[in-house]
């Protein structure tokens, strides 16, 4: 399978008070297309830093990050923004939808940034929201949706830009168990049917239960890299 994410010698040193903090200490990692990967680790393990670097939200002190054969380690801010728009889908813990837009408009928004025509934006938004089970809530604003529904809109938004992979930071943390399971069902299905690559950061055992690969991060290093055979549900 093609490698979507390749990290080589990734090191990140923070210097907030003059005393250097080694958040990541030379990480090497390959993630292939279609993987359903989870990164776990205690607070302070470097999990957030690792995902920020993979997501192009931060840059390493040393090492290279290659997404879809493109080295993003030394890209400028605006180049990174463009790259994220077209290659990385984000799902956040707190949903982070635009509150003044409806579900459909939230999904359309990402395609608007890609300068797609209105007709195509409309068509794709309706289709994707249908895939996440929200065809009846197109015109609802986030305040009119439950937590689970909002997160499904967020997933739809992440997919609308046709990214290389989806980065989900604690996507189930603010959901009840029913909503969380329902969300994970959708993500698994997308992974299965589209070979969409998912990379999660989580503490949630429900997510870990479904992962194909579990990376454990401790003190800035990957301590375990476990591949799990899953049978289709």
């Amino acid at each position: 399978m093609a490698i979507v994410i390749e990290l080589k010698g990734i090191t990140k040193v923070y210097n907030p008070t003059g005393i250097p903090v080694n958040a990541l200490k030379g990480i090497n990692l390959n993630i292939e297309k279609g993987e359903f990967t989870v990164v776990v680790g205690p607070s302070g393990s470097g999990k957030t830093t690792l995902l920020n670097i993979i997501g192009g939200l931060d840059q390493p002190t040393k090492g290279t990050v290659t997404i879809d054969r493109t080295d993003i380690s030394t890209m400028k801010q605006d180049e990174l923004i463009d790259f994220r728009l077209n290659h990385i889908g984000f799902v956040f813990q707190s949903f982070n939808l635009i509150p003044v837009l409806t579900a459909k408009e939230n999904v359309e928004f990402i395609m608007l940034l890609q300068n797609l025509a209105k007709a195509e934006r409309d068509q794709r938004a309706i289709k994707i929201l249908g895939e996440v089970g929200l065809e009846g809530r197109l015109d609802s604003t986030p305040s009119e949706l439950s937590g689970g529904q909002q997160q499904r809109v967020a997933v739809a938004r992440a997919l609308a830009s046709r990214p290389s992979f989806v980065l989900a930071d604690e996507p189930t943390a603010n959901l009840d168990s029913v909503a969380a399971e329902s969300l994970l069902d959708i993500m698994e299905e997308l992974n299965r049917e589209r070979s969409m690559t998912f990379l999660f950061s989580t503490h949630d055992p429900r997510v870990m239960k479904r992962a194909h690969r579990i990376l454990t991060l401790e003190d800035g290093l990957i301590t375990t890299d476990k591949r799990v055979k899953r049978h289709p549900r």
Binding site: G55, L57, R84, N96, L112
Partner: protein, 405 residues
């Protein structure tokens, strides 16, 4: 969709937006009304001067204004007046005899300008005949009637039916005395005019001077002031040897007042908008700080910093324009109503009349003012949005996403 997002974002915090809109609306409404009063005062000064004496333009010999001698009259003055009366756009023409002299009563005396008129013609050019507060204008068939200003009557301690002696230099330099009877007392917006001008029949002056009526001044009233430039050009071409002056040249202080009012208008409103600038900047800054996480997410998912900046700009322009529209509409209605009803300033009438301004004020604003105001509002909004916009673009997406306000 970005325009739609910007508009909807304004209403996310309704209280804050309404407070800001109200501040903008009140500031502009107040500014417009104050400006309307300034313009109304300036227009009052100009219109009362035109109505009171000068008309829209006057004709003299080239040397008369500098040195008003009795022998420096306009040759064929009555014939010129007749020609002017026949021109399109001319409402009235008054051919006047002007002599500097002295008015004496048993109580006092005063230097005056004696204006010899044909009453019927004069009433088509000025409104002095309507300003008579006692007696009548020069309609009397009696001998040597005179109409004087109220301030002059007070100074000379005379009233209607009182006798006045007018003395002035004749054509041969000798002093001529004439006994006149006060038939009317007028009062205008200008105390200076009321103190220094009196009207007699032109034929009476001609009799005292011992010859035909002399025309020293021809005053012309047009349908409206917009015709002045065009009419001046035509008349100057017809009579190139005479001095033909529009009201702005006759009374340059009025022209200066009118021009200064135009400048003051925009300057005054610019000051108000400058004050509002800080309020708008503060409001937008708070809005940005409230949405740090949101902007972080927008940049994370792929919204370029330039677009974030423009979003703030558009939100600010929408907020400012909405307040401006409300303020301008309310201000315009207020000005329109008071322009019809007038504002009674009789409490300060004495001070106003010393400037030639009437006690009833009619605020007005030229239509072009609103266009200028619209431009100023947009400029203010753009300036106000710069700092908050830059603040938003400098946010770090990674840390902003984890901000909880």
């Amino acid at each position: 969709m970005l325009l739609s997002i910007a508009w909807r974002n304004i209403w996310r915090n309704k209280k804050r937006s309404i407070v800001m809109l109200t501040a903008i609306a009140l500031g502009l409404c107040g500014g417009l009304f104050a400006t309307g009063m300034m313009v109304g005062m300036a227009e009052s000064m100009v219109n009362t001067a035109i109505d009171r004496y000068i008309g829209h333009f006057e004709i003299h010999t080239t040397s008369f204004k500098a040195n008003p001698l009795v022998n420096d009259y306009i040759p064929g003055g009555d014939s010129i007046a007749s020609s002017l009366k026949a021109m399109v756009g001319v409402v009235g023409v008054s051919a006047r005899t002007i002599i500097e002299g002295m008015a004496s009563s048993p109580a006092s005396n005063s230097g005056v300008q004696i204006v010899g008129i044909i009453s019927r013609d004069e009433s088509l050019v000025t409104t002095d005949a309507k300003r008579v507060v006692e007696g009548e204008f020069l309609n009397s068939v009696g001998r040597y009637p005179v109409v004087i200003g109220k301030k002059l009557a007070e100074k000379l301690d005379v009233r209607v039916h009182s006798k006045l002696v007018l003395s002035f230099a004749g054509r041969d330099g000798s002093i001529i005395y004439g006994s006149f009877r006060v038939v009317g007392i007028f009062e205008t917006e200008s105390t200076l005019f009321d103190k220094s001008t009196l009207f007699v029949r032109r034929t009476d002056l001609a009799g005292l001077l011992g010859g035909p009526a002399l025309v020293h001044e021809i005053a012309v009233r047009l349908v409206n002031a917009e015709l002045v430039p065009q009419m001046l050009a035509s008349v100057k071409a017809m009579y190139p040897t005479l001095a033909i002056d529009g009201w702005k040249d006759i009374a340059p202080e009025l022209k200066l007042t009118a021009e200064m009012t135009d400048v003051s208008m925009l300057f005054f409103l610019a000051i108000i908008l400058f004050g509002l600038l800080f309020g708008i900047t503060n409001t937008m800054l708070m809005s940005v700080l409230d949405r740090v996480r949101e902007f972080g997410v927008l940049m994370a998912i792929g919204m370029k910093r330039k677009r974030v900046f423009w979003l703030i700009i558009v939100e600010t322009v929408f907020l400012s324009l909405t307040g401006a529209i409300v303020g301008v509409v309310v201000g315009a209605v207020l000005i329109d109503v008071t322009n019809h009803t007038g504002i009674n300033l009789s409490i300060v009438a004495e001070g106003l009349t010393s400037y030639g301004i009437g006690a009833m004020l009619y605020p007005s604003i030229p239509a072009t003012m609103y266009v200028g105001l619209g431009v100023l509002v947009i400029l203010t909004a753009l300036c106000a949005a710069i700092y908050p916009g830059i603040k938003a673009t400098k946010l770090n997406p990674a840390s902003s996403i984890r901000t909880y306000v």
